[in-house]
């Protein structure tokens, strides 16, 4: 880094270089047709280096700077203002791997990978604006490899100070970048490992400075470290700060690792570490100067504890085994091989451990009787142990011994072992006999002795140092012993047991001091002692006379003859005690307690009083108050004299001490004076003084605490107050008065009611009193009037304050301004009301709107409600409909697309689209199925319901039954078609006779001219017929158009009347064709246009009669089909020529005539159809075909049976 040329210098030199290059280029361009842009200023006032450069001598410099530029460690790259390369040095071409020619004229981003191109362009723009001059950028070498560069850029200016281009110094930092990346990855890996290992891991940094204690701080710790070391949040902290008692060893170990770099593995633990054990591995990391040590450690406490316990057990067992006084053999169960024997075994059996090992008891010939061994094994198998089996064994030398054998089984993981215990009872057995003889002798002697001592009036004890062997009843009673056994203990113990002590000092007698002990030593003693009777607990004064018992010059025991002298001793003691008590009373008095005589000289004092004068209780006696403390005398002299003279006691006279207290502070006293008789009719004064300094001080403190309370209470934002146990308020804080503008006089007790709102005060008072009575916490919310006469809302609370006995002594209350909160609540309430109102509005709307409205919830399009009208169409109640999700809609209501054939899918339904997609659906036709199965076309409009956030909360669909609309539409279409046909027909059929008239008029003229009489007649006939036909057509058209318009009112007419009238009108043709008319219909009433109904039947009858063909017995029947459940169908049936099924379509057409020769214009059936239509009926016909008769059927609105 340091040996590089500084960028600024280089740039200035480069500028010069570029200048010269420009000149060179200019020359080159002049010779070659070069496309490079040429800079044309070669002298600039701005660049003073350039100024120094002589224009006419560029050669030397040229060479010099060229070599600088070309040998520079950095790449030099120059762009013009369009960011086209105008210069690169050799180093640049090396870095990029491109040739100079390949780079010149190119943009830098031609050498960038796609991801860095945008940044490259931005950087170039920033350059031109002078915003950056140093940055890192990513390029791509010619070989495709990545190239990280560090770029130092500066602007080039021309003479006018205009930016000419950008000069870049390029350093290849790819390697560094890649290393950084690798480093980063490696660090991440380390971090990952660091955090995931279970062992505690930390990195510490040692501080090794002369004169300072060794210490280290934690650079890094992992989670396991914190858990195991119990050092929380250790990172960055110094060890000595956290654990000042941390053992020095640690610091030393880590120091050594830091200094030497030698890793250390060790285990540590013990009490200093809360009895935890760690295995640690410490090793140096980083450079030695860093003095960093990494420590990997593991908590071994549990394992350690187990190991320890095991080792302890083994040792215990081994020690017990070794030192056992019984002979022990440890052998294997399987083959009886001896594994271990102890010393006692060696002693008992003569076999050394070496000799016994590896052999069995059979090998050692241990059992005298082999059956004993078998028995032992049998018991062992049965009981898993052998207990005290008496057998005879032989030692190494064949000596027989009686022993007691016990065997225990030991099952370990490694082996099943047998521990055999041999207890030698040979000697014991022998001595047992001897003892028995001696005992008998002893018993006899004892009986004799007992008789002697029992007869003595004194207490008699006989015994040795192991205890008393004989005593009489008096002796037992004296000490309160229950029996002789109580006394059969070592003499020293007996001394303690009966609390034997010296009468004056009360110190217990040492064992050696006990009279009995001394007698056992040969001394004869008579002394007085005190003992405590074990039964009564009373002290017994004893005069003890003890003497040794000497047999054959040897002391074999001692005898004591003791007298009870308690009564005399007690009398002596009582007097002494009384005196001592009084003195003790004085000495131990916690208060000042003085007794002075008539001259105010001290007779007795407490311990403290003398200390004021530098005296002791002993030395103050006889000294007088006036001498010791004239001040005190001045203060109390008169009082004391008064007491002596009058005998009146002065109690609790408080006054300040004339002398400061012992600690130099002023002391406060409460003093009493009383007269005391001193005998011989003399009087003294007793003085009792109690220091009350502490009480005084706490009183002071209390007032201070109250002051603090008031200061706090006056400054909080709430109101605070206190009431007595009855709720009468005796204190308010300052805020209360500030707000209310009242005074304490106005407010005290129940004065607060004055500034409460009249609407609330009654309730507040009642609740407050209730709380006070019950001693419960009180809480209420109410308005309080401020000094501005405005009420604000307050949340008020009161809590009882109780004393140690849990009695309520006061109430403490606060009022918190919650006006804002209250307002917010009111707003919320209003909003809720509004919502409720909205809901009611919706419900009302849904109840009465004559339209289907369905509301669903997002996202499942669950139906929430359907308007009443909608329910009527769907014939489902609210409950049945509510909650049905989208997938069930199509099947539930049989929803089809508008074609009525394709079942709808849930997703395409308008409600689903509105609810799920937020789509607004307008005027779509769908079809739903009623419960009775009929299809209802509906017109739908749907929209999403948005919540306040603009999210879709649901959807609503409005839908209308458009069956009527559809029908009308259909009818309209039919009517239109009919009209079109009508107009067409009219134009054709009316034109036809016109043509005829026209033609024959011309012929007629010709025929008149030619005087052709026959032809003339013929022509006139044609004309006449055509004119008639035309007239008739026009009349009938007029008639047809009138039907349904310009009518009278509809009335109820009987069918009979209608038929009668119709028959009358066609009577001519009926007669002419001999047609018989039969009415089979029952009496009916028809509601309709009377004249039209007649016309209807007239046309049908006329038609029937007209087309009878060659029927010999023409018959027309008028009948009705009156199926009860269906509408009544009327029919007119003939047995005439019938209608060819091929012509059915044309039958009811206007001016259609199947037979051109037939009479009439062909309007009849068109008229019939029209009449039926204006009566909302239908008409159709059946015919078996030509010659087989025809039946016209039709319905009309409101036909009913007359007799019903």
């Amino acid at each position: 880094m340091d040996n590089r040329v500084s960028p600024e210098l280089l740039i200035s030199e480069l500028k010069k270089e570029i200048e010269m290059l420009k000149q060179e280029l200019a020359v080159a361009c002049a010779e070659h047709d070069h496309s490079l842009q040429i800079y044309n200023n070669n002298a600039t006032g701005q660049n003073n280096i350039n100024q120094e450069l002589p224009e006419n001598a560029p050669g030397n410099h040229n060479h010099l700077y060229r070599s600088i530029v070309e040998t520079a460690n950095e790449g030099i790259w120059v762009f013009d203002v369009n960011c086209k390369t105008i210069f690169v040095n050799k180093r640049t071409t090396e870095i990029f791997g491109y040739g100079k020619d390949e780079m010149l004229g190119k943009h830098p981003w031609d050498f960038m990978p796609p991801e860095s191109i945008d940044a490259g362009k931005i950087n170039f723009e920033k350059h031109l604006q002078g915003n950056i001059n140093r940055y890192e950028h990513l390029y791509k070498r010619k070989d495709g490899s990545i190239l990280w560069t560090n770029i130092a850029a500066s602007l080039l200016f021309d003479a006018q100070g205009k930016v000419e281009g950008v000069l870049n110094m390029i350093t290849d930092i790819t390697k560094q970048k890649l290393t950084e990346q690798a480093l980063y990855e490696s660090r991440e890996q380390y971090r990952l490992l660091f955090d995931s290992i279970d062992e505690g891991y930390c990195v510490i940094e040692m501080r090794i400075e002369p004169g300072k204690p060794l210490d280290y701080r934690f650079i890094e710790v992992n989670q396991a470290f914190e858990e195991q070391s119990t050092l929380a949040d250790a990172k960055g902290k110094w060890m000595r700060e956290m654990r000042p008692d941390h053992e020095e060893t640690w610091f030393e170990i880590y120091r050594d690792v830091a200094l030497t770099g030698k890793p250390v593995r060790f285990e540590l633990g013990g009490r200093a570490l809360q009895n935890r054990f760690f295995s640690l591995y410490a090793f140096r990391i980083g450079t030695p100067e860093q003095r960093r040590v990494a420590v990997l450690f593991k908590d071994n406490t549990a394992q350690k504890a187990l190991e320890e316990a095991l080792r302890e057990n083994e040792e215990k067992f081994s020690a017990a085994f070794r030192v056992s006084p019984h002979a022990l053999i440890l052998s294997k169960i399987e083959d009886g091989t001896i594994i271990e024997t102890n010393n006692a075994f060696n002693a008992l059996f003569g076999w050394s451990n070496q000799e016994a090992l590896g052999k069995s008891t059979i090998d050692l010939n241990l059992y005298k009787n082999p059956d004993d061994r078998k028995l032992a094994i049998k018991i062992l198998k049965r009981d898993e142990r052998v207990n005290n089996l008496e057998i005879i064994v032989r030692d190494k030398y064949g000596t027989e011994k009686l022993i007691v054998l016990s065997i225990e089984l030991i099952h370990t993981k490694k082996a099943n072992l047998m521990l055999s215990t041999f207890q030698d009872v040979t000697e014991q057995k022998k001595s047992d006999l001897k003892i028995r003889e001696l005992l008998q002798l002893s018993e006899r002697r004892t009986a004799e002795l007992t008789a002697v001592i029992e007869s003595m009036p004194e207490a008699v004890y006989i015994g040795n140092k192991e205890g008393i062997t004989h005593c009489n009843q008096v002796a037992l009673k004296m000490l309160g012993a229950a029996s002789l056994e109580d006394l059969q203990e070592r003499i020293g113990e007996l001394g303690k047991k009966f609390n034997i002590r010296w009468p004056h000092s009360g110190t217990p007698l040492h064992e050696n001091e006990l009279q009995f002990s001394r007698a056992l030593q040969g001394e004869t003693v008579i002394e007085e002692v005190v003992a405590t009777n074990a039964q009564t607990g009373k002290d017994v004064y004893i005069r003890a006379a003890d003497a040794p018992i000497i047999v054959n010059g040897e002391i074999i025991g001692a005898v004591a003859i003791n007298s009870d002298i308690t009564e005399r001793k007690e009398a002596e003691e009582a007097l002494r005690t009384s005196e001592a008590q009084l003195d003790a009373f004085f000495a131990n008095s916690p208060a000042i307690l003085n007794l002075v005589d008539g001259n105010f000289c001290y007779i007795n004092t407490d311990k403290v009083t003398p200390t004021y004068y530098g005296l002791t209780r002993e030395t103050i006696k006889g000294k007088c108050v006036p001498d010791l403390s004239p001040d005190f005398m001045d203060q109390t002299g008169n009082v004391m004299r008064h007491v002596i003279e009058t005998g009146e006691s002065i109690l609790n006279e408080p006054f300040e001490s004339p002398v400061p207290g012992r600690n130099g502070e002023m002391a406060y006293w409460r003093t009493s004076f009383f007269r005391v008789p001193l005998g011989d009719e003399k009087w003294g004064v007793g003085v009792i003084g109690i220091e009350v300094t502490d009480i005084k001080r706490s009183e002071l403190k209390l007032s201070e605490s109250e002051k603090r309370f008031h200061t706090l209470a006056d400054n909080i934002s709430q109101f605070a107050w206190m009431a007595d146990v009855n709720g009468s308020i005796f204190w308010y804080n300052k805020r209360w008065y500030d707000y209310t503008g009242t005074t304490f006089e106005e407010m005290k007790g129940w004065g607060w009611t004055k500034i409460h709102h009249p609407d609330h005060v009654h309730r507040v008072m009642s609740n407050f009193k209730k709380a006070i009575d019950k001693g419960e916490n009180w809480e209420d919310t109410f308005p309080i009037r401020g000094r501005d006469n405005v009420y604000r809302w307050y949340l008020s609370r009161a809590l009882p304050i109780r004393n140690e006995n849990n009695d309520i002594i006061r109430w403490f209350g606060t009022n918190t301004d919650i006006t804002e909160q209250k307002l917010a609540e009111e707003k919320l309430h209003a909003a809720l009301l509004e919502a409720e109102e909205g809901k009611n509005t919706l419900n009302t709307l849904m109840e009465y709107i004559p339209m289907g409205i369905t509301i669903a919830d997002a996202p499942d399009v669950n139906i929430r409600m359907v308007s009443k009208y909608g329910q009527g169409i769907l014939e489902k109640s609210d409950e049945e409909i509510a909650g049905i999700p989208a997938p069930e809609h199509p099947s539930k209501w049989g929803i089809y697309r508008a074609d009525g054939l394709t079942p709808a899918t849930p997703e395409e339904l308008p409600l689903s689209r509105a609810t799920m997609m937020g789509e607004i659906v307008k005027n779509e036709e769908w079809i739903v199925t009623r419960k009775d199965g009929t299809l209802v076309p509906i017109l739908c409009n749907a929209a999403p319901i948005l919540n306040n956030d603009g999210k879709v909360a649901g959807g609503v669909i409005g839908w209308q039954d458009i069956a009527d609309l559809k029908r009308i539409e259909f009818e309209m279409k039919q009517r239109n078609e009919e009209l079109t046909r009508f107009i067409y027909t009219v134009s054709h059929d009316l034109k036809s006779p016109l043509v005829t008239i026209k033609m024959f008029t011309t012929y007629l003229r010709d025929d008149i001219k030619n005087n052709e009489k026959v032809e003339q007649e013929n022509d006139l006939n044609y004309i006449e017929n055509a004119a008639d036909k035309m007239g008739k057509l026009l009349d009938e058209l007029l008639e047809l158009s009138r039907i349904g318009r310009k009518e009278q009112f509809k009335t109820e007419v009987s069918l009979e009347v209608i038929i009668q009238n119709a028959v009358d009108m066609v009577a001519g043709r009926i007669r002419e064709n001999n047609v018989e008319i039969v009415v089979t219909a029952p009496p009916l009433l028809i509601f309709g246009f009377y004249q039209r109904l007649i016309q209807l039947f007239q046309n049908l009858l006329d038609n029937a009669a007209k087309f009878m063909g060659d029927q010999p017995a023409p018959l027309v029947e008028i009948g009705a089909i009156t199926d009860k459940s269906k509408e009544i169908i009327l029919f007119v049936r003939d047995n005439g020529s019938g209608i060819d099924p091929r012509y059915h379509d044309k039958l009811f057409g206007l001016f259609e005539k199947l037979d051109p020769a037939a009479e009439g214009t062909g309007i009849g059936l068109a008229l019939v159809k029209r009449i039926v239509e204006v009566h909302n009926g239908r008409i159709w016909f059946t015919s078996e075909g030509s010659g087989k008769g025809t039946t016209f059927y039709f319905t009309l609105e409101k036909i009913k049976l007359l007799n019903n």
Binding site: Y984, T985, S987, H988, D989, K991, S992, P993, L994, V995, T996, K998, M999, F1000, T1002, Y1003, Y1022, N1025, A1026, D1140, R1142, Y1143, K1146, E1152, K1153, L1154, D1155, P1156, A1157
Partner: protein, 152 residues
């Protein structure tokens, strides 16, 4: 011009008056001798398809030209046209509509069903006369038919 004797025209017209003066015009143009006049659509179909009264082929020779009114009883002219043009053999016979209807829909339907020509009856007798004359001249003189002399 000798072919004229061979020409047979099938003329379907329900209105007897119209039939009468039309025949007069034919006569005037010397084409009246080979005209078969039928009064409705059904009879026309019977004739053309050898059915009903015309099941005997001898009495229903094939026409060279069919002249058809649109508004006919029983079977409409348009229906007759459709049937003719649906038939393999009959569709080759030029069929001309002669009607009073000027309605566009009629013309469209006729052409849609492959009518060969559509004529409207003029109200003026001279025009009517000229038209029939031209008609005869064109269809019976100038126009050449598909088949040879096979009129069966």
């Amino acid at each position: 011009m000798e072919t004229r004797e061979l020409s047979l025209i099938l003329y379907v017209e329900d209105d007897p008056a119209h039939a009468a003066f039309t025949m007069r015009f034919f006569k005037k143009s010397y084409i009246d001798n080979n005209i078969i006049h039928l009064p409705d659509g059904q009879q026309a179909l019977d004739y053309l398809f050898y059915q009903g009264n015309y099941s005997d082929k001898e009495i229903a020779p094939r026409p060279q030209l069919i002249l058809l009114d649109l508004r006919l009883p029983k079977v409409d002219g348009l229906e007759v046209l459709k049937r003719i043009k649906s038939d393999e053999i009959l569709r080759c016979i030029p069929t001309v509509i002669l009607t009073t209807s000027e309605a566009e829909i009629d013309r469209a339907k006729a052409y849609h069903n492959y009518v060969n020509s559509y004529l409207i009856k003029p109200l003026d007798i001279t025009k009517f006369s000229n038209m029939i004359e031209s008609f005869g001249l064109y269809w019976l003189n100038w126009n050449k038919y598909a088949g040879g002399d096979d009129t069966t």
